[in-house]
Point group: C2
Chain length 389, copies 2
């Protein structure tokens, strides 16, 4: 015990080494707290803080006004009849799959789906069929392939898939398939349709009903300016009683939520950031314009080009940068040179060791900061251009 105490003293002083840098990691950009949320953290950071006045049901707490947020504001925002908070987008997906499916059932995912969708399906012991693999450079999902795959699944298993999922946008290329069309196809076949909006809910306008979706999933820490872990899950009335079914023994507890989910600071920051989130969603076009400006600018470096459907409709983008790969082969830091050079210029968030292609986002950066980032890439190219000869 005394050894353990001594060896654990280091945990008392942990610092986030990216503080003060421009962070280009798409999964960090949408989770930065709003000023309003940041003001509240010291008051609500203790353990279970929001449960002081709980009568047994997290989403019914009136002080703080979680009840109003979860049952009034959130469904309006998501375009659903019902909503709940969960421990994250992946947990939301598992809740839906686990509620709708029996072991051995089949679900249909887009082939650009996030790994956590596959793992959620695996945890629920269901089989996943995907739409045809997407191809370089657009990696575009063909909406009609949902109909073809549903037919195939019917032929093979004797029934349609228990659920269809579309990742909107996907987390690699920021592609936004025609969700409404996919939803329409699913409706024709009477297949429940889930929109994974981990990168859209809280960033861009999105409404489940308008897109023919029965379920919508969002991520608080990824895209709603909330402290993690927290997610949201919206459902249509039709599925509310299935997904949020109550315990037989404890009548007010919802089984899939294990009674309650993201208790504490995450729900407070989600609520406190909500007005800011609504305003940024309202100004989404500006963010798309910034992303396009940046990609266009960067295309001025020989060989650099964005992948995914162009012009981009999202802040999350994937770029091919063969010149940096060529430089890395001759640089003594190898694949780490780019990250190191960027850090020296106050920029972080490109995945360690990558030079050939990588994801980035300019979300909510100012134009001045975006110019700093673009200049940094140009400077690095200029500095090492000689190595390419």
């Amino acid at each position: 015990m005394e050894n353990l105490i001594r060896e654990s003293q280091k945990f008392k002083d942990l610092h986030r080494q990216t503080i003060g840098y421009i962070n280009l990691n798409p999964l960090q950009r949408g989770g930065i707290l709003s000023d309003d949320a940041r003001k509240m953290i010291s008051e609500w950071a203790d353990g279970y803080s929001v449960c002081d006045f709980c009568d047994g049901c997290l989403d019914n707490i009136k002080n703080p006004p979680i009840n109003d947020f979860v049952h009034e504001k959130l469904p309006k925002f998501l375009g659903t009849e019902t909503a709940r908070i969960t421990n994250g987008a992946r947990e939301s997906k598992f809740i839906v799959i686990h509620s709708l499916c029996e072991k051995g059932d089949t679900v249909l995912f887009d082939s650009n789906a996030h790994y956590s969708s596959f793992v959620a399906a695996e945890r629920a012991c269901v089989n996943v069929v995907t739409t045809p693999e997407t191809e370089h450079p657009e990696f575009k999902i063909n909406e009609d392939s949902y109909a073809e795959k549903i037919e195939e699944i019917k032929k093979e298993t004797g029934k349609p898939p228990k659920l269809a999922l579309l990742t909107y946008p996907d987390g690699n290329y920021g592609n936004l398939a025609d969700a409404k069309k996919v939803g329409g196809i699913c409706r024709e076949y009477d297949v429940p349709f889930l929109l994974n909006g981990a990168y859209s809910v809280g960033r861009m306008p999105i409404n489940a009903k308008e897109l023919n979706a029965d379920f919508i999933v969002g991520s608080g820490h990824k895209s709603m300016a909330a402290s993690g872990p927290i997610g949201v899950l919206g459902t249509s009335e039709e599925y509310e009683k299935i997904v949020f079914r109550k315990s037989e023994k404890y009548k007010i507890k919802e089984v899939e939520l294990l009674g309650c989910t993201s208790r504490g600071l995450p729900v407070i920051t989600l609520m406190a950031s909500f007005p800011h989130v609504l305003e940024r969603v309202w100004r989404w076009d500006e963010e798309v314009a910034k992303a396009r400006w940046f990609l266009d600018k960067l295309s001025g470096i020989p060989g650099i080009k964005p992948l995914g459907v162009q012009p981009t409709g999202h802040d999350l983008n994937f770029i091919e940068t063969p010149v940096f790969y060529e430089i890395s082969k001759k640089h003594k830091k190898r694949g780490y040179f780019l990250q190191k050079e960027l850090k020296a210029k106050g920029i972080v968030g490109i995945k360690s060791g990558l030079t050939k292609f990588f994801k980035l986002s300019m979300y909510l950066l100012t134009m001045e900061e975006i110019k700093t980032v673009a200049d940094a890439f140009f400077d690095i190219y200029d500095k090492y251009e000689g190595l390419l000869e």
Copy 2:
């Protein structure tokens, strides 16, 4: 949208109304952040903060040193071969039940088990058998009843239960059954044994191996001075590969954890508070002495007595207060008078409307504060004693 923006402005300014009060709620007392953790919150409160240098596996992150914490310090602390962080104690329990059981299997719980254990079992579609109902005033679990019930289950289903669970202590009376004995019985029958330590891990010395437990579950926000939601789960080597099995498609992702769990501020505060937690566990006897002092003192009010096994071995206690119930019948505030009187004296955390019996905890309060609390109850009794005539 404009309406929604206008109606959501109130979420910008949320205040915790119990700040500055002595909070007697047992589920709040162990979750108050350590000073070290509190210092770190502004640096780590953004979304996914800990994932800046993630290579795909939360518990392998080296910066901040989550890897060392989860794989070295935490198993030592829990007395297990392996440990992980989860979204909470209930999520830890579901992970174990879901990994070990098939639909329709039977598990054995103590009859004082927390509701979330039952809901976790219900979510996994397994049947729960409980030890015989415990009785007033001790509500004591009979350890030998585990053997009897295992025999019964074998007789009825043809096989022993897939899991046995003991709540240590239970969340109503703070009773600490002889876990080692229960674990020994389970071992004899080859039944995996889970200790629910939501109120012990982080408060009192507890070691899974010494208590013959295969699994131990703890709660960061309840008892480890961490910001919620976060829990811990320790397992013996035997069950590690089952519970933390990897995805077939994504080789580094653990299926039951959906790839990763409590990403963000919760894990940072859990780590930052860990030295403080070790030290308070080391001084556990002082907390038990305080609880006993308080219960003994309060017994000076006619009719007030602690329930559960006495003398208490835990800070969580349940007291019967028939005098306050009698007063409430004649008081114009009815059942709310006690809460109101306590609040006027700077004390919160007794469940709203309760006067006949309630839970409370003096955990980590100073003796001066505890005397303030005791005096408050005496003062309220004195003030309304006349109503009893």
